[in-house]
Amino acid sequence: MRVDVRSAPFDPGAELSAFSRGVAGAGAVVTFTGLVRDDRGDLSALEIEHYPAMTGPAIRAIVAQAEARWALTDSLVIHRHGRLVPGEPIMMVATAALHRAKAFGAADFLMDYLKSRAPFWKKEITGRGEAWVAAKSSDEDALRRW
């Protein structure tokens, strides 16, 4: 397991290459990369606040659940905080397992849990002002799948 909470940008391709080289015995690697979305075309930046003392431990606890449930060979979570611009990678999840179903399942679980159980808060900055992104009830519903 590697959990990296950082403000600096990262290169998802380089991270995937390094992760894949280190997972001897695995037959499948699944990755997800989340980008700063600008669906209305007016976003100048996304500011991500977090709770430094809690973020790492909370993410590691979520990843430990995934590793045990899907018998993962290895896992990676990178999540940024601070000011990001549209198109930049915000976060990345990678899971390695013997077979693809386990790697996909674990990655899906990790994304659902990181969304509503990792202490990050997003604020959108546009030309018209700034607003906190509200959590969706569908995010909370998604946790019940597991």
């Binding site: 606040e49 709770y51 909370a58 509503s116 159980r117 990050f120 808060w121 509200a134 995010d139 909370e140």
Partner: protein
């Protein structure tokens, strides 16, 4: 007892502070929120709808009925939006 109380995101903005040390005799999180709300309007505004807020007790997600005995750090924030 003294407890470090942290505020994040919209709660931090409404209260106007990222953290403070609170001297309290409250026995639960909800009691402490009651003490804060009685202090000033900005706390009343921040805690107007506690059902829409989350609380972490010593960095673990918890709830407003949690006891405060032995607790060192509390954090209040809106639902998280990671990922």
């Amino acid at each position: 007892m003294k407890i470090d109380v942290l505020y994040f995101a919209s709660v931090r903005e409404r209260i106007g502070l990222p953290r403070e040390v609170v001297e309290t005799g409250a026995s639960t999180v909800a009691d402490l929120v009651g003490e804060l709300v009685a202090r000033e309007a900005r706390y009343e505004a921040a805690f107007a709808d506690v059902a829409a807020l989350r609380v972490a007790v010593d960095q673990q997600l918890s709830d407003f009925t949690a006891p405060l005995e032995g607790v060192r750090e509390l954090a209040f924030f809106p639902p998280m939006t990671g990922g």
